[in-house]
């Protein structure tokens, strides 16, 4: 074996080096591993892969009825188009038709019945997408229409559910409400949200010689794609290989919903023995796939003169669309977060899973959490207005903490609560009180534009609530030149997971980041993985990779101790070198030595999250390993003539424990905040009375653009605060929690609106707070103000 390390360092040089820290390990702002490839256009996404000469492109024809029986389905006209290879319907699925993620209910192609406008009814494969689409549109599909259920209220009233309601209960909320000094009831529609990952759903399938398939997919859940492709084809899982290098965004939208295109393409490939690719055009993607669940939430709260909540009841009704998908866990998570960071007193929280004739709503960053978490913020605003207090004061009063006030309504103890301190910190650093004063003065003088300010916290539970999912695997090989190959079960969707996991491995072996090559997530390498979701990617896969690294490292240490006749404690890995008592050698050289001494340089690693459980029957447990915290203070300006607004400033303080990579974490916080603000402001989903999504493209569905970012945007991570739990390097998950910091924008808009009636009335406004909704709320305020004036005049008369 040749030694290609030309520039051999002297002993002294090496000793100098091992005194220094690794510059690309854990805690460093290492660049995203794909950054240079992404900016140059070299990063390969599924659609960029070189196509085969016999490539097929697949288009699925969507239902144009929300609820109907299919009375006629004739695909023979599809074959009139030259270039068409096959047209498939439910009948052509060789194995199992249903691709429901947890519970059945999602037929791959409609089987006699359509349950939403946009449901795939048939699919055509042709030499090009255009032909496939034209041919698909030529198929004859006739329907007998059935009555659709399109509103969540209707579903709730008719108890039209995809699964049973569930309740969390602590104490006697009815008695608490009855005995409260003050009571408020209210309700709010919380809008859904389109993921709008920039890369639409796509899978490309290649048949193999064993009757199996290789699937290149853009999915957060390769193992599930593997399982479902196997099931629809009726083959064993080991025939199917999934390759997932990177997604052009996921946000939860590719957790379950990536499987459909993969499975349809697989059925096509199965029948034709040709490679088949299915990429959804944007409109089809938006109409066919589910979104964040819209919720309809009702509440009643009791509180005392100080604004302290003593009792609370909430009904959270998630609009699940036509099938269960992940809705059970999503509504659960809404319930788990209906307290946010506050002690609700005696509380009864019930979650309903309403079935409607819409696309099946699915995971989306926060996974139902945001739709529950926003409720206490709305409630506390109401309380503050009723009592004439600043909402921040009421928020602080109700935080968890103190005797008997540290247990949630599902009986998990809130340990290591960072919020009181963080809120104080942000209140000071954002200059909240002075700005509050300045805004009041501005509003008094400004007849048309009004400013609003709000500081809201986030407490978000980390772990999959389906406990078994909290496991992960990894695979590490070290080659004889010292280079390392790393694979893990998580998927890269931009969040920097690969970078973080590689940093963990770099840190363990004390080698430079560049030494480590991460390749596509592949079911051949790491099997039986959980989806990359619930913010758990780095927590789980980082630990699994760490365990794999430690296994190899332990072998290496034992070997070195033996070989050099030293104790194991004498062997340390430092900054690309291995120190063996007085001996020091470059990592690569040491690896060669180990190889020649027949040491295994490859290992898997596995991790499962400890401590967590949840008992559904008693609705009690510890579903979360720990909580992540954050708070944001947003200021907006609102136009009372049109309802338009702008975010002037946002200050954020967020807790990621000991950050694995501060730059990536800040990127997550900023991106999540803007996405959360978009959810509550301009991102409005509109369906017509036939159940057709009218906002089915970016021309009509408006995600934040560059000028929607706060004009003044200040983001900080909490420093010197490790995760108290034994997570990977005591870091905390970051993907979802900061999404809910966007609620501060919603509350700031409400604050500006409330100024119109001297902050005495809490504006009732549904989310998203579009300019139109804002204008109506302002009108309400003006009417209140008018009435108040009339009343005042009447009194003086």
């Amino acid at each position: 074996m040749s030694n290609h390390h030309q520039n051999k360092k002297s002993y002294a040089e090496m000793l100098e080096l091992v005194k220094q820290d690794l510059t690309t390990g854990v805690g460093r702002s290492v660049k995203h591993e794909s950054a240079a490839k992404q900016v140059s256009g070299e990063a390969v996404y599924v659609d960029d892969r070189l196509e085969f000469p016999n490539q097929l492109h697949v288009y699925a024809r969507m239902s144009d009825k929300a609820h109907a029986r299919i009375t006629k389905l004739d695909v023979s006209p599809c074959y009139d188009f030259p270039g068409v290879a096959i047209a498939i319907t439910a009948k052509d699925v060789p194995g199992q038709l249903d691709i429901g993620a947890v519970l059945p209910g999602d037929p791959l192609l409609a089987d006699g019945l359509v349950e939403y406008y946009g449901q795939p009814v048939l699919a055509v494969a042709a030499n090009d997408l255009d032909t496939a689409r034209k041919a698909a549109m030529a198929a004859i599909v006739e329907y007998e229409e059935l009555e659709p259920v399109l509103s969540v209220e209707q579903a709730l009233e008719q108890e039209h559910f995809v699964s049973e309601p569930h309740t969390h209960k602590r104490g006697d909320s009815a008695a608490a409400l009855a005995g409260a000094q003050h009571r408020i009831t209210g309700q709010a529609h919380i809008g859904g949200q389109e993921h709008f990952y920039l890369e639409t759903q796509i899978s490309s399938v290649v048949p193999t010689e064993d009757g199996g398939m290789i699937v290149f997919t853009s999915s957060q859940n390769p193992t599930e794609v593997q399982k479902l492709v196997a099931e629809v084809l009726g083959v064993s899982f080991n025939k199917i290989q999934i390759d997932m290098r990177r997604m052009g965004g996921g946000f939860g939208g590719k957790e379950t919903q990536a499987a459909g295109p993969a499975c349809i393409a697989a059925v096509v490939a199965h029948h034709t023995r040709r490679p088949a690719k299915m990429r959804l055009p944007r409109m089809e993607d938006m109409m066919m796939t589910g979104k964040r669940h819209p919720f309809f939430n009702q509440y009643e709260v009791g509180f005392d003169d100080n604004g302290l909540i003593t009792g609370c009841e909430m009904k959270l009704a998630g609009n699940c669309g036509y099938s269960p998908d992940l809705s059970n866990s999503i509504v659960d998570r809404a319930m788990f977060h209906s307290d946010n960071g506050y002690y609700l007193g005696d509380a009864t929280i019930t979650g309903y899973r309403c079935k409607t004739n819409l696309a099946s709503n699915t995971a989306y960053r926060g996974f139902g959490g945001p739709q529950g978490l926003i409720m206490p913020e709305i409630i506390l605003d109401d309380i503050a207005r009723r009592l004439g207090k600043d909402p921040l004061e009421v928020r602080k009063l109700n935080l968890y903490g103190g005797e008997g006030r540290d247990t949630t309504h599902y009986y998990q103890k809130v340990e290591d609560n960072a919020l009181p301190q963080m809120i104080d910190d942000l209140e000071r650093s954002s200059d909240y009180q002075a700005r509050r004063q300045a805004i009041r003065e501005f509003n008094a003088k400004s007849p048309i534009l009004k400013k609003g300010l709000a500081l809201t916290p986030v407490k978000f539970g980390i772990s999959f609530t389906a406990t078994f999912l909290n496991q992960a695997g990894a695979l590490i090989h070290i080659y004889t030149d010292g280079s390392i190959h790393l694979n893990h079960g998580g998927t890269e969707m931009g969040q920097g997971l690969n970078t973080k996991v590689a940093q963990v491995v770099a840190e363990e072996f004390q080698v430079d980041f560049d030494t480590i090559q991460i390749t596509a997530t592949n079911t051949d390498k790491v099997p039986n993985t959980s989806p990359t979701a619930a913010s758990s990617g780095a927590d789980l896969n980082g630990k699994a990779a760490q365990n794999a690294a430690r296994t190899i490292k332990q072998r290496l240490v034992e070997f070195a101790a033996r070989h050099f006749n030293v104790t194991e404690e004498d062997v340390t890995f430092r900054n690309n070198h291995v120190l063996i008592r007085d001996e020091v050698m470059p990592f690569a050289e040491f690896i060669q030595l180990a190889y020649f001494n027949q040491i295994s340089l490859s290992s898997t690693g596995f991790y499962r999250t400890p401590k967590i459980y949840y008992d559904r029957d008693t609705a009690r447990g510890r579903p979360f390993y720990y909580y992540a915290y954050g708070c944001a203070c947003s200021e907006v300006v609102v136009d009372t003539l049109t309802g338009e607004y702008k975010i002037l400033r946002a200050d954020i303080l967020h807790d990621v424990g000991a950050s694995l990579n501060p730059a990536i974490d800040i990127g997550q916080v900023e991106g999540a905040f803007v996405q959360g603000a978009g959810w509550l402001t301009s991102e409005e989903l509109v369906w017509n009375d036939k159940g057709r999504l009218m906002t089915s493209g970016p021309a009509s569905y408006k995600i934040p653009a560059v000028t929607d970012m706060p004009i003044d945007f200040r983001v900080r991570l909490v420093e010197n605060r490790k995760n108290a739990e034994d997570t990977v390097y005591h870091s905390k998950a970051v993907g979802e929690p900061p999404f809910m910091l966007g609620i501060s924008v919603f509350c700031a808009i409400k604050d500006a609106i409330a100024s119109v009636a001297d902050y005495r009335v809490s504006p009732a406004i549904d989310a998203p707070a579009t300019p139109e909704r804002v204008l109506w709320a302002i009108r309400d305020m003006e009417q209140h103000q008018q009435q108040a004036r009339t009343a005042a005049v009447a009194e003086t008369v």
Binding site: K31, A43, G667
Partner: protein, 479 residues
């Protein structure tokens, strides 16, 4: 046959589907997959490429949406894509800044962002924040929240060194000169055909010979029929090679805007006279769209929600319509007859738009209301142009978009204003009249009631802005 430079390589194409977009050309014909499709509707910017165009002694670089650009528009230009920026192992400053600032996460928006930044750098050097926002408003990023991207745009020219485009400038210039369109060309795949005339006379003749042909200027509206409605357009006439039709001329009494002049080119001339028109164009779509889109297209598509028609109507603009050798002029307001029905005759087309100068006009204000401030279609657009002398309204032109099937004047409101004293009372009366002028529809952008109420409120805003300039009235003033 069309000729263009694919970065440095001369491409001569004579057998292409003229309905093919540059995006599809790149991805399927040229096999350059760096440029991404995020929407194929001009909204996301993932497909942004840069066109280099000869402009005297210089090359003008403009970002455009390749998903809405038909291949014929490449004729005589240089097409630059994200793959062309890196030299050997060296990233371009725009790319390096994106890496350094952690500006890419999933990376799918990134090629488009890099190209917008590249064009920005070429056009303004070290940009101001507002210029950055302008350049990036048409690039959606779902991951980053934009902060690091803006930072990258600020930093990319910190250490400015000449890039390969600077170094090859003279050569590129010469090669572009060689392929400048001098005579009419055609492109066909046997089924569909596109013509690129180079003179008004050629265009007039073609339009007479092919009355069914669709004119395509920027294509930012027409291409949607292909990419979204999935129509096939048999005959296209591309007007972008007609120099005469792209002129913007400012005279003492009028501004003449060629129907094929890009909105970006119209911007300067209009905003000098009418700052609010400038502000409106600033919020018109995105820079990519404005670099392509034209006034001719904005009027010719006869949309009830086009932004320029209400403004132009309020200003008293005229159209010059041409058919064969004949030209006629027409008040713009008379061009619009009913939903998508215009006064334009078969074989006729818009040659230019004539706008009176500010000195001959009143106080012009235009207000665009949309769900999102940037790159959104108006729910309501209100344009006001009142001449007020000695406390009286001498004349009033008030026009709205989004309130009727066509861009339309608010005649009852105008009546209530004209001749009346300029005071709050008059405004209240005019608001009542305005409420009678329209009966708008409800759609996903806004409800009928919202449109009615904001239309009326915009008149209040106009009054306040003229009477009490110290009062803040626009959230868009915060940048």
């Amino acid at each position: 046959m069309i000729r263009f430079l694919l970065n440095r390589e001369l491409r001569v194409e004579d057998h292409l589907d003229p309905n093919m977009t540059v995006l599809n050309y790149l991805r399927t014909q040229a096999r350059k997959t760096g440029t991404k499709e995020g929407c194929a509707s001009g909204d996301c910017g993932a497909c942004t490429v840069v066109l280099g165009e000869l402009d005297g002694e210089r090359i003008r670089y403009r970002s455009v949406n390749s998903c809405l650009t038909f291949v014929s528009a490449l004729n005589g230009k240089q097409l630059i894509t994200v793959e062309d920026l890196k030299q050997g192992d060296r990233l371009h400053p725009a790319q390096q800044a994106m890496v350094d600032c952690h500006g890419s996460q999933c990376g799918f928006c990134t090629p488009g962002i890099v190209m917008s930044m590249f064009a920005l750098g070429k056009n303004v050097g070290k940009p101001e924040k507002e210029e950055i926002h302008e350049a990036l408003a048409g690039n959606l990023c779902r991951c980053t929240g934009y902060r690091p991207i803006v930072e990258a745009a600020e930093k990319m020219y910190d250490n400015v060194t000449p890039d390969s485009f600077n170094r090859e400038h003279a050569d590129t210039l010469a090669r572009l000169r060689e392929i400048q369109p001098r005579a009419q060309v055609e492109l066909s795949n046997g089924k569909r055909k596109a013509y690129n005339p180079t003179t008004l006379a050629e265009l007039a003749l073609l339009k007479e010979q092919h009355p069914e042909a669709r004119l395509v200027a920027g294509g930012t509206d027409l291409a949607l029929e292909v990419t979204q409605l999935r129509k096939e357009i048999g005959t296209l006439i591309y007007v972008g090679d007609i120099a005469e039709m792209k002129q913007v001329q400012v005279f003492d009494d009028r501004i003449e805007l060629g129907a094929a002049a890009s909105l970006t080119d119209c911007y300067q001339a209009l905003s000098n006279d009418y700052p609010d028109f400038g502000a409106l164009l600033h919020r018109f779509a995105s820079l990519q769209i404005r670099n392509q889109g034209t006034l001719g297209g904005n009027i010719g598509n006869a949309s009830p929600i086009g932004d320029s028609p209400p403004a132009l109507i309020a200003l008293g603009a005229q159209l010059v319509l041409r058919q064969g050798e004949q030209s006629r002029s027409l008040d713009l307001q008379d061009y619009f007859i009913d939903y998508k029905v215009t006064a334009q005759q078969p074989g006729e087309f818009i040659e230019k738009v004539i706008v009176p100068r500010a000195a001959d006009n009143g106080e012009f204000r235009s207000y665009k209301i949309s769900k999102r401030i940037d790159d959104d279609i108006s729910a309501v657009l209100g344009c006001f142009n009142l001449v007020i002398r000695d406390g009286r309204v001498q004349s009033a032109r008030v026009a709205f978009g989004g309130m009727a099937a066509i861009p339309k004047r608010a005649s009852q409101c105008e009546q209530a204003l004209t001749g009346a004293e300029w005071n709050r009372d008059t405004i209240e009366k005019a608001k009542q009249a305005l409420a009678q002028d329209f009966s708008p529809i409800s759609d996903f952008r806004a409800s009928r009631e919202y449109r009615q109420l904001t239309a009326v409120n915009l008149l209040t805003r106009y009054f306040v802005e003229l009477e009490s300039p110290e009062v803040e009235t626009r959230v868009t003033a915060y940048v």
